[in-house]
Amino acid sequence: MSALLEVKNLKVHFPVKAGMFSRVHETVKAVDDVSFSIAPGETLGLVGESGCGKTTLGRAIVRLVEPTAGEISLDGEDILKMTGSALRARRRKFQMIFQDPYGSLNPRMTVEQIVGEALDIHRLTDSKSARQKRIFELLKDVGLDPVYAQRYPHEFSGGQRQRIGIARALAVEPKLIICDEPVSALDVSVQAQIINLLGDLQQEHGIAYLFIAHDLAVVEHISRRVMVMYLGKIVEMSEAKEIIREPQHPYTQALISAVPEVDPESKRKRIVLPGDVPSPINPPGGCPFHPRCPIAEARCRTEVPALREISKEHWAACHFAGNKIEQSNRAGFQNV
Amino acid sequence: MWSFLFKRLLHMIPLLLGVSLLTFLLMAMAPGDYFTALSQNPQISPETIANLKAKFHLGQPWYVQYFYWLKNILHGEFGYSMAYKIPATALIFERLWNTFLLSFFAMIIAWGIAIPLGIWAAVKKDSWADRGCSLVAFVGLSVPDVLLALLALWFAAATGWFPVGGAQSPIHDLLTPMQQFWDCAYHLILPALVLAAADLAGIMRRMRSCLLDTLRAEYVTAARARGLGEGWVIYKHALRNAINPLLTIFGYSLAALLSGAFIVENIMAWPGLGRLTIEAFFAKDSYLVVDCVVMATALLVVGNFIADLMLAWSDPRIRLK
């Protein structure tokens, strides 16, 4: 299987300006040595907590953020080496859907202008009527009535705006769409509509997704494979079903157990991790997870665990991968 | 916090250097100089003029003059006023003091009235009191300083209750220190009131909107939810936060105040920097103009620095980061 997207040793570091004379003091390692690939038509899920670098990773792939090092090849072309108009032309192949349904549409443009802009940039239609026909088609594709093409974004609800954003991305017929938390700002009853829509579109057009979210259940539902990110690093990667059934990394185990469960019968024991999500400015040495890890040992403080293949297609970055966290310790609870 | 303040302090130096350089350049670009007028005076010999020019490096290119000027400043010398025929230093500082006095009292009056009024308007939002305040503020914002000063002058002339201009009475030097003090205050009050009135409306409206903003904040609801009294919620929780944005606009208000003072000084014959600037301008006394502009800027920059200081004191997020 030849990969559509191949990311190798990607690093995105930001300098943090601090101190009196604005010298570079520290770097945020937002994305630190990340490698993965996505096959055509596949959905890869990316899950992690705020500040773990998942959004930066998504933006780096579409070159909205400049990576510090690494390789990103799409369809065999290294897009990190491209600049200017060559890059702009290549942008047809990969698109992005954003989180905020309110901020992601220009409030001063009509739906038709928003979707049409995508067509105009890449000159995808050759006549006015073809352009309009295509816009109507796209709106129908995402479940919007083309009657409303002349409306402005402020007249639509969150879910409808998200559909407009999807139509804009679809307009250029991309092979890959980076979905950056596309449903987390939506109401529960609307979330499912968008998730289903994304699934339908994938079936129809064979688009590959990198689906970023903090909600493990959503990611697991939509993805074939899932990556778990913690402090700029991939800590576990596997098939979706496998990762839920047999999580290897303790962080993944805690994450799974923390998902609130609707089913009252399933009494999964909640693993409560102590402490806060650390700031990526000064990540802990050794395994980045060790200060919060219930099974950490001395070795974890010094030695960075490599992402290794535990079983077929199941990767984890933990010295003690596979060890189960048994005890649910009461986080930070002190007897008073 | 200290590094923040130190940084701000260091920031002032290039700013003042830049301003002086800019003004110096502008003055150098000005057609003619003091000596153009002087040389037309048949009573002054060309030698005298040449001597004077040499003494003040006036034959040199402007940047050389600038360096001499700068060197003198570092020695506390503000050059020589051609028109007044005295060293500028004493003159400048006397006028600076007067401008400072005028602006300072105007500021005290303006903020002293505007802040309570703004709070009152915000607390009584949409009441007749609020509407009344906002109407008065509109009028206040729209009366130009020039007109206000002229009206004050007219008022003083018509009633005789206030002196028509000037900073002290002619017999000032003959008075006892106590009388001198009252004489100064008597001369100060009308210009300060005029200046304050021009500034007041803006501050009041800002205060009102800042407080209304903070009253919408979630921590205000949270404070109410804890059972704190409405007065406590407004005056402790909301007001304490509303002050921070107000301090950041202090700089703008100060800049407006200094420009207002410029006008008031010239109309009401208050011997401050603004009046000196215009006098020096007409006399083509270019060093003096540069001195005045730099001094006025320094006043503003120092004022802003003090505002930053107060902001850092008031807002822990700035103090501790």
């Binding site: 529960v188 499912a192 959503v218 539902h221 469960e261 | 921590y219 109410r224 059972g227 409405e230």
Partner: protein
């Protein structure tokens, strides 16, 4: 007598012709030491209902049209400002969604907690610590006897320890911005507990937090409830939280309660079509199903609630008559109320 009894609460935003009904006939009771979840999507009126208990919604724009909110038997809608201030914090405390915004940024957290203590539990001289026995309500019913404290700082530190803040002795001098979101929410909870309320209203307390931090806070809430035994009204949009926390659940849609039921039964066997659809539209871990059963259409906005049954336009089993008459909330099984005549 229930601790809290909301009877047929009706609230508008605006008045006269512009009035938009935000809460339309909500009735809910909470017994002492009971945990009730109020579940619903944005704009369904769950937050304003909760805020109304201590009358924290500004009037205007809000306008109470009808109903009663009986807290310890007294109607908070009829209370004077003075009485309200006593029950706020004193009987009912609040924890809000965004802890960063609900802590005052310019005061140290210790002082903010102390403020609550001073108000609701003023210092008693050690000689007077012998408290009169067993008085729940003293006279007016809104006054509740509190545990006696002799030193504010000690009590603040005790509270911070109670909510699991490490090294509280040094933390009391922190400003809110120096803490993480999870720690800030703990401080908010400590502040809410400072006055020893009978009812804790938590309005989406974990929505702004990360998953692992959310687990910590939920864990903390259940533990505190176990120890302190206050009643909790938990507002959330997340049905998953319900199963973990609640004794009973009220599901709100477009300003009305559509289903009210014991929590486990509601999750196991939802009766109202909206509840059913809501549960089915949430992806479940290892759920398998390739397609979620989505609810068509959009969440109605305030002022645009459809006539008749408000869920009818999105309801899979709607009949023509559903759009004509608003159905009643009826008890169909013991303890289970549904606002749908076709629940079977």
């Amino acid at each position: 007598m229930a601790l809290l009894e909301i009877k047929n609460l009706k609230m508008d935003f605006g008045a006269g012709a512009d009035a938009l009904r935000a809460v339309d006939g909500v009735s809910l009771t909470i017994g002492a030491s009971e945990t009730v979840c109020l579940v619903g999507e944005s704009g369904c009126g769950k937050s304003v209902t909760a805020l109304s208990i201590a009358r924290l919604v500004a009037t205007p724009p809000a306008n109470y049209v009808g109903g009663e909110i009986l807290l310890n038997g007294q109607d908070t809608l009829k209370m004077s400002n003075g009485e309200l201030q006593k029950i706020r914090g004193g009987v009912v405390s609040y924890v809000f969604q965004d802890p960063g915004a609900s802590l005052n940024p310019v005061f140290r957290i210790g002082n903010q907690i102390k403020e609550s203590l001073k108000l609701h539990r003023p210092l008693t001289r050690p000689s007077a610590t012998l408290s009169p026995a067993g008085g729940e309500g003293r006279g007016e019913g809104v006054r509740v006897l509190k545990n006696v404290i002799t030193d504010y700082d000690t009590e603040v530190i005790r509270l911070l320890k109670l909510v699991g803040i490490p090294a509280p002795e040094s933390r009391i001098r922190n400003y809110p911005f120096e803490m993480s979101g999870g720690m800030q929410q703990r401080v908010m909870i400590a502040m809410a507990l400072a006055s020893e309320p009978k009812l804790l209203v938590a309005d989406e307390p974990t929505t702004a937090l990360d998953v692992t931090i959310q687990a910590q806070i939920l864990d903390l809430l259940s533990e505190l409830k176990r120890r302190l035994g206050m009643a909790i009204l938990l507002i959330t949009h997340n049905l998953g939280i319900v199963g973990d926390m609640a004794d009973r659940v009220a599901v709100m849609y477009a300003g009305q309660i559509v289903e009210l039921s014991p929590a486990r039964e509601l999750l196991r066997r939802p009766l109202h079509p909206y509840t059913k659809a809501l549960i089915n539209s949430v992806p479940k871990l290892a759920g398998g199903a390739s397609r979620l059963s989505a609810i068509p259409g959009n969440v109605p906005r305030i002022g645009n609630f459809p006539p008749g049954c408000r869920f009818a336009p999105r309801c899979p089993i709607a009949k023509p008559e559903c759009s004509e008459k608003i159905p009643e909330l009826l008890e169909v099984e013991p303890g289970r109320f549904v606002r749908c005549p076709f629940w079977k």
